[in-house]
């Protein structure tokens, strides 16, 4: 018996050791997930990576990037935070009031998603040249990636100034990057846009399935904008004129159709974020739901000011821009309810408004089918006008600004000198109101009354004065803008955690 048990025991021991020696037991692959180290191995993977790079323009949820496109309005005289609920998106309200700290959630979000896009673009620029795909496709993919990288750096430089500049993916072990000077960031943006423009097709050359992708026109238009931001008027004007001369874009769409949900990528569209309702995927826009009245199922953010409304009195574009309490909107909303107790201004943004039939029936706050227009022809014409004015060619300026006016049947301008510049600015405000441009325009433009300062200073001062002293509308007495400090608030703070993580390499913008 004893021998028998010993035999059992020994055989058990033997089996155990045999099993133990199987190292395969400990090699467990990760199942169902692709891994970066062997990605970019075929055409499909390269195209999917590029698609991912576009996706950073508007990731899935409402807060991931879409929300920040409202900042250009709420940080200006065109709009207020929207709903007065003090703790509801407190940091968003703090941006509107210029009570901005380096911990602000939304500037942090903008930073993150811009760099996510740069990271994705850098992966493409680095890996696609080695991928086993055709040279033509490589060119196309890399050009689109460079366009998107330039777009992301543009977003960063206009919000934060100089930022860490990288054109290839880095790892945790690399030394932490400092901020590059603003000029170097602009230089990279220009280089990428120029490179992209040579390999990208014009909009008219795109196949039906390519619509929505970056085009030569878009790359050059952003290059114009980059020149304008740097006040490189002599570069901006001829390039803008060149784009105009291609007749790729026009103003044939009536103004009311520009933001119509049924007119995506319209005749004046240069670049827009492609959105659509999908029953499974969050492929849509957040802003229609976020900006709509809380009485109409929206969240009530970013409401137009009475200042803007009064400014646009009599302008044909006003009704396509602003809905005021009691306004007729459509048959379902003959007298619009803006939910006055939850709306700082008694108004809501008409451009992002969707009729009930066009609203996503599920998860509207991330699935609205409205494209987010980032750059349209009227914008380019007005930039051209501005550049032409600065170059002293008033007639060219007038031609462009009047083309914009002509669409909405306004009489042509014939002003000259400083008045012409003011008129171009005013035209720009009305044409592009509530599309997220105003704050950025005001801070790059020089003051007219206080020429030593960016124009935003005099505008915000007048705005506060109006609201506190002469305004009798819903937003009377709201002192938003009182805390605006021109020496600080023309740039947002670098997110504090990025400064901390840079191990001293990143220095904060002054005033924060």
């Amino acid at each position: 018996m004893k021998r028998l048990t010993l035999k059992y025991f020994l055989s058990l021991l033997f089996i155990s050791f045999v099993l133990m020696s199987c190292d395969e037991f400990l090699d467990q692959p990760v199942k169902g997930k692709q891994v970066l180290s062997n990605y970019f191995s075929n055409e499909d993977e390269c195209l999917k990576a590029l698609s991912g790079c576009y996706a950073s323009l508007s990731p899935e949820d409402w807060w991931e990037n879409d929300f920040f496109y409202l900042i250009g309005d709420i940080c200006s005289d065109d709009a207020f935070k929207g709903n007065p609920i003090e703790g509801d998106q407190r940091d968003f309200g703090n941006l509107a009031r210029f009570l901005i700290t380096p911990q602000n959630e939304w500037t942090g979000v903008k930073w993150r998603y811009s760099y996510e896009q740069i990271y994705r673009a850098n992966l493409i620029v680095k890996n696609v040249p080695e991928a086993p795909i055709s040279e033509d496709l490589k060119k196309q993919i890399i050009a689109e990636a460079k366009f998107l990288r330039a777009f992301a750096y543009f977003e960063l430089v206009k919000n934060f100034g100089g930022v860490p500049l990288l054109t290839t993916p880095l790892t945790v072990d690399d030394p932490k990057l400092p901020r590059s000077p603003v000029s170097e960031v602009w230089a990279q943006i220009e280089a990428d846009l120029q490179a992209a423009s040579t390999d990208l097709p014009e909009k008219s050359e795109q196949s039906a399935s390519e619509l929505g992708r970056a085009t030569k026109g878009a790359a050059l238009a952003y290059l114009v904008k980059a020149y304008v931001y740097q006040e490189k008027w002599s570069d901006a004007e001829p390039l803008a004129a060149q784009i105009i001369s291609t007749t790729e874009y026009n103003l044939n769409d009536p103004f009311t159709m520009v933001w119509n949900v049924n007119n995506p990528n319209g005749s004046g569209s240069i670049f827009e974020i492609q959105n659509n309702y999908h029953e499974l995927y969050d492929a849509g826009n957040a802003l229609p739901s976020i900006t709509r009245s809380r009485a109409d199922g929206g969240w009530g953010f970013c409401t137009p000011s009475s200042d803007l409304d009064i400014f646009m009195t009599g302008d044909p574009r006003r009704n396509a821009t602003i809905i005021k309490e009691g306004d007729y909107v459509d048959d379902e909303h003959p007298a619009y309810d803006t939910s006055l107790s939850e709306n700082e201004t008694g108004r809501t943004n008409r451009k992002y408004y969707l009729p009930i039939a066009d609203r996503a029936e599920v998860d509207e706050h991330k699935r609205a089918p409205l494209n987010q227009i980032l750059f349209r022809y009227a914008d380019l014409l007005l930039l051209h006008a501005e550049a032409a004015w600065h170059n002293g060619s008033s007639s060219a300026a007038l031609l462009s600004v009047n083309e914009v006016r002509n669409r909405v049947a306004l009489s042509p301008l014939a002003s000259v000198g400083d008045q012409l510049l003011t008129d171009i600015y005013n035209e720009r405000r009305m044409e592009l109101a509530m599309e997220g441009h105003r704050y950025y325009d005001l801070k790059r433009q020089a003051g007219i009354l206080q020429s030593g300062f960016p124009r935003i200073k005099e505008v915000m001062e007048a705005f506060v004065d109006y609201n506190m002293n002469s305004n009798t509308d819903y937003d009377a007495g709201n002192n938003k803008g009182a805390l605006f400090d021109v020496s600080v608030h023309t740039l947002f703070p670098i997110p504090q955690n990025e400064i901390d993580l840079s191990e001293g390499a990143i220095i904060q913008n002054s005033g924060y």
Binding site: Q28, K31, S51, P164
Partner: protein, 1015 residues
């Protein structure tokens, strides 16, 4: 029954006292035959050793507890049995000596499971707390973790409220990592992460291994302590059927005090008035009390608990089987929990050398997941009714007849309840098969193969409905999720035992293999033809068909060994070693090594203290060890890609792209947790009074944590796993136990345990604070800073209220800058901590620490004649809690409902309040930003349970053919003493988000009636 035996014993003694002297002369110094029976509370005791004192002559009792022995009339018989108090009985020429032995509940001979083996409590060298299953069974809960609260030193249990079937948060000696802090459960030698399948009544004993020297034998999964659970098994010679039944009723222990409709309207009017706005309510008093949403949402709820156990043990076969049923309704409507368990533990002796057996548990439960109303019923305005008026209900479906809210964005909670269809079915089969082989020469070999198979299935349905624009669903939907786990464990061990002279040596060596497989599958879809109950199934889906799933597998292989050595029972040494290899790490970093050593000195056994009669135990213990943590994602080493969504083309087709979603770190390795433990055990007056003390210091090195990295290094929000952090924890435990049997027959057993464990984060990646706990109103709630405790509350510091405008103007920095220019009288004053003349983010500081100074439990058991009484108190002292609903109920802007009395408590003119700001709609000063205003003292003392039992006298039992019966009434959560203004300060949470009242499920007060019957 025991009483009866004692009476017989006394009678016999008295009889013998008179009778024996008569025979003494005649029978002096001649051996006589003595017969008797050995008995105890649990019945006849087989296998009791009876030895004549001073000799090696002896015998053992048979299956019925009977014995026969030859002895001299002057001899003394020594009765010993493991787990029972030793009895010395002088023969005094008696021929029949019946003995009733008493169980030695926490005595030195008690055998304790220490993982892959056992040890006598006396020989213990590490820090291990134990509790008997019978003590846990007094708490009427489905979940073992809830029953553990207050029972053990060093084991802090937070109940997480009283939702049906809810699992408590257990921290063994505080936190050891910022990741998961769940202890490892080891049930009958099978390591598990999940314990909620277990019927607490099936538990024989629980031992918690607290220090690394004890835990190291479990290596890489033991960094948060190990809880060893032994389930009930049959004993040789035992046949019984035990039936436990109880019925309980639960009610809300503390209802939150909220404003009624009139006060709500008065507050809204006052807030509007203070902000220069028109008054929203014309006639507040006409509104009366309005709707009491709390009462609408809560109910009295029963618990049914039945448990049947059958034990039969013979020399060769021991079977313990049982069936249980538990059913609990929620005190908040819409939730419930139901469970059935089946258990079979068998042990067969095939030959003298070979024993085989199996443990099998089957557990099936169903949780009805309620809609979580607690938060909303406190915030919704009381001025609206629950339902629409009847004439407006016409033509609406059953889910749309609820009244919309007017002033708040809260969805009608009763509407949410009506459309709550969410159930989880959980089936778990846990089993093991083992074979033990006695090789001889002190060696035994054991192989055990165990499995854990679980099938988790969640089904939900959401109807379409319309209450208002912000409370609607245009389409209905239905979904199901499967979540299956298949885990295997194979343990192979060799035990060795040897005693020679004064030496005793125990050793084990072994290897184990474990595999963990996890598979999920989820499907859902929209647009069912209707909300009809028969169509709430996936088959009826007509749109948005969605499917997703995951597959994960990890494996582990380990070698382990341990030696327990004792010299003269005085000098004890334990050394153990474990080597683990995990598939989660790269080949280079795969193996982790976990050594431990501990020793103890039983001073009371030394000759120089043998004269000290009142000292029955004096033991010093000390240990050091290392354990590990491998709690990372299976794909943590790799940069993996995930789906992105964009749209292209004229047809605007969705295009699914790919992008990295993580940043892999191929250099990851084990987190190591190292600690030292020093302890002492003292016993006085034959263990009537015992005192235990333990002190520990623990350090987690190479702590696995998500590291924040600059955004440009990867996908947004990537936090690659790293081995960077260092966390240290220190603390102590103190237990005093007093047991006394008074002459009157009163038996007392009382114990107090006190524990302390405080953590300090000594190193973080890049020194970057960790922020956690995103609150809609207050933003990030906690911060973990280098050099500070984990998960501290971090916000502004208040300094009373500006009583008038001149206080505002005079609150300046040294240069005369007004620090709070937007404030007005009645607003909160915040401290300008950095002195820059403004209230900014830099003026925030640590405003609270959720870690208690100590937590404690008090256990009192009394027995007198047929009655017994037990009480368990528990509590914490010195911890801060964050009342996260206060930003709504105390903000006083007239939107959400307020706490009752806010109207009068709020500042309303000079001198009226220095803590509650004025009521206002417009609050430019941001009075209700995150500050110490929300932090409260979370100390509490609770009578967690009280039970009175009555043991039916034996003669009555016999008449009704029972061997034993106990009837009891009990109550749980009887009262709580605390300063916390919320419902319950007993809040769990993760390491980084502890002590936050997110609207925790209310604590139930339970009244219980029941019986334990043994056939």
């Amino acid at each position: 029954m025991k009483k009866c035996f004692e009476r017989i014993k006394y009678a016999l003694t008295i009889f013998l006292f008179f009778v024996t002297p008569l025979f003494l002369g005649a029978y002096a110094q001649q051996t006589m035959e003595i017969k008797g029976n050995v008995n105890s509370e649990i019945g006849e005791l087989p296998g009791v050793s009876i030895v004549i004192k001073g000799t090696i002559n002896g015998t053992i009792t048979d299956v019925e507890g009977n014995y026969t022995i030859s002895a001299l009339p002057s001899d003394i018989l020594v009765f010993t049995f493991v787990g029972f108090l030793t009895i010395e009985e002088p023969v005094n020429s008696r021929s029949v000596i019946d003995v009733s032995m008493e169980e030695n509940v926490q005595q030195l001979e008690e055998v304790i499971a220490i993982g892959y083996g056992t040890v006598r409590k006396k020989d213990l060298t590490g820090a291990i707390s134990t509790v008997k299953g019978d003590d846990l069974a007094k708490i009427n809960t489905a979940n073992f973790t809830q029953a553990l609260q207050g029972q053990l030193a060093g084991v802090q249990v937070s109940s997480n409220g009283g939702s049906p079937g809810n699992e408590a948060t257990i921290l063994v000696r505080g936190i050891s990592t910022i990741n998961g802090n769940h202890p490892l459960y080891v049930v009958d030698d099978v390591p598990l992460d999940d314990i909620s399948w277990l019927n607490p009544k099936d538990i024989e004993s629980v031992q918690v291994l607290k220090d690394a020297s004890s835990c190291a034998i479990f290596g890489s999964r033991a960094s948060n302590g190990v809880i060893i659970i032994e389930t009930k098994k049959a004993k040789e010679g035992q046949t019984n059927i035990i039936f436990d039944v109880s019925y309980s009723v639960q009610s809300v222990a503390k209802k939150p005090d909220l404003a009624d409709a009139t006060e709500y309207a008065l507050i809204a009017n006052k807030a509007a008035e203070n902000s220069g706005q028109s008054l929203p309510f014309a006639d507040p008093s006409s509104l009366g009390k309005g709707t009491d949403w709390w009462d609408e949402a809560t109910q009295l709820a029963p618990i049914h608990n039945y448990s049947l156990t059958i034990n039969k043990g013979t020399k060769d076969l021991k079977v313990s089987t049982g069936l249980s049923y538990f059913n609990q309704d929620g005190i908040v409507k819409g939730g419930g929990y139901e469970r059935i368990t089946l258990r079979l533990n068998t042990e067969y002796k095939l030959t003298d050398k070979i024993t085989i057996g199996e443990n099998l548990s089957l557990s099936k439960d169903k949780t009805t997941n309620g809609p979580g109303l607690v938060w909303d019923v406190q915030r919704i305005e009381p001025v609206i009714p629950v339902f629409l008026p009847e004439y407006e209900q016409e033509g609406k479906n059953e889910f749309s007849i609820y009244h919309p809210t007017d002033r708040t964005d809260v969805a009608n909670p009763m509407g949410a309840l009506a459309r709550s269809f969410d159930e989880t079915d959980y089936l778990r089969i846990i089993g093991s098969f083992f074979a033990k082989l006695d090789i001889g020469s002190g060696f035994t070999a054991e192989s055990k193969f165990a499995f854990y198979l679980s099938s988790w299935e969640n089904n939900w349905f959401r109807p379409n409905y319309y209450i208002e624009p912000t409370d609607k669903a245009d389409v209905n939907s239905v979904g199901r999720t499967h979540n299956n786990r298949t885990n295997y464990t194979w343990n192979n061990l060799i035990h060795y035992t040897k005693k020679w002279n004064d030496h005793k040596l125990n050793g084990i060596a072994g290897f184990t293999m474990e595999s963990f497989e996890h598979r999920t599958l989820a499907g859902n879809g929209n647009e069912l033809p209707s909300n009809h109950p028969d169509l709430r199934y996936l088959d009826a889906v007509t749109a948005a068909h969605w499917i997703e799933g995951t597959d994960e597998k990890s494996t582990q292989q380990s070698f382990l060994g341990r030696i327990n050595y004792a010299y003269k029972g005085r000098y004890l040494l334990t050394a153990s070693f474990r080597a683990d290899a995990s598939s989660r790490f790269s080949k280079e970093n795969r193996w982790g090594y976990f050594p431990a050593i501990s020793g103890a000195w039983n001073i009371a056994e030394e000759s120089f203290v043998s004269d000290v009669n009142w000292l029955s135990q004096l033991k010093l213990r000390g240990g050091w060890g290392q354990v590990g943590n491998q709690d990372i994602d299976n794909d943590a080493l790799l940069t993996t890609l995930g789906r992105t969504i964009y749209v292209f083309g004229v047809d605007r087709e969705v295009d699914l792209g790919m992008a990295p979603t993580s940043v892999g770190n191929p250099n990851l390795k084990w987190e190591t947790v190292e600690d030292i433990n020093i302890g002492a055990d003292l016993g006085f007056f034959n263990q009537e009074l015992t005192v235990s003390f333990d002190y520990f210091e623990r350090k987690s090195k190479d702590m696995l944590m998500g590291m924040s990295i600059p955004s440009y290094l990867g996908s947004a929000w990537s936090t690659p796993w790293t081995n960077i952090g260092t966390l240290s924890t220190k603390g102590f435990e103190f237990v005093v136990n007093y047991r006394k049997k008074f002459n009157s027959g009163l038996k007392l057993n009382a114990s107090v345990n006190v524990s302390r464990a405080t953590s300090k984060m000594t190193k973080l990646a890049f020194g970057e604070d960790i922020q956690s706990g995103n609150h809609q109103r207050l933003d990030m709630l906690t911060r973990t800073k280098e050099g500070g405790a984990t998960g501290t509350f971090y916000g502004w510091v208040t300094d009373g209220i500006f009583q008038n405008q001149s206080e505002v103007i005079n609150y300046t920095d040294e240069f005369g800058n007004i620090i709070q220019p937007l404030a007005q009288a009645g607003d909160m004053r915040f401290k300008d901590l950095n002195g820059d003349g403004a209230i900014t983010d830099e003026d925030r500081a640590v405003i609270g620490n959720p870690e208690p100074d100590f937590s404690f439990g008090i256990n009192i058991n009394l027995a007198y004649k047929a009655f017994d009484l037990s009480m368990l108190f528990n509590g914490t002292y010195g911890n801060d809690v964050l009342n996260a609903i206060k930003p709504y109920t105390h903000a006083g802007n007239g939107v959400y409902n307020s706490a009752k009395g806010l109207l009068n408590k709020a500042w309303n003119g000079e001198g009226s309040s220095n803590s509650q700001p004025r009521l206002a709609v417009v609050d430019n000063n941001q009075n209700f930003r995150y500050s110490d205003y929300y932090i409260e003292d979370g100390s509490f003392l609770r009578l967690k349970s009280a039970q009175i039992g009555f043991n039916v006298p034996e003669n009555v039992c016999r008449k009704i053919k029972l061997s034993k019966a106990r009837l009891f009434v009990g109550a749980e959560n009887v009262f709580t003493l605390t300063n916390f203004s919320g419902m319950d300060p007993d809040l769990g949470g993760s390491a980084l988000e502890r002590g936050i009242d997110w609207g925790q499920y209310p604590l139930p007060r339970v009244f219980m009636l029941g019986a334990n019957i043994t056939f």
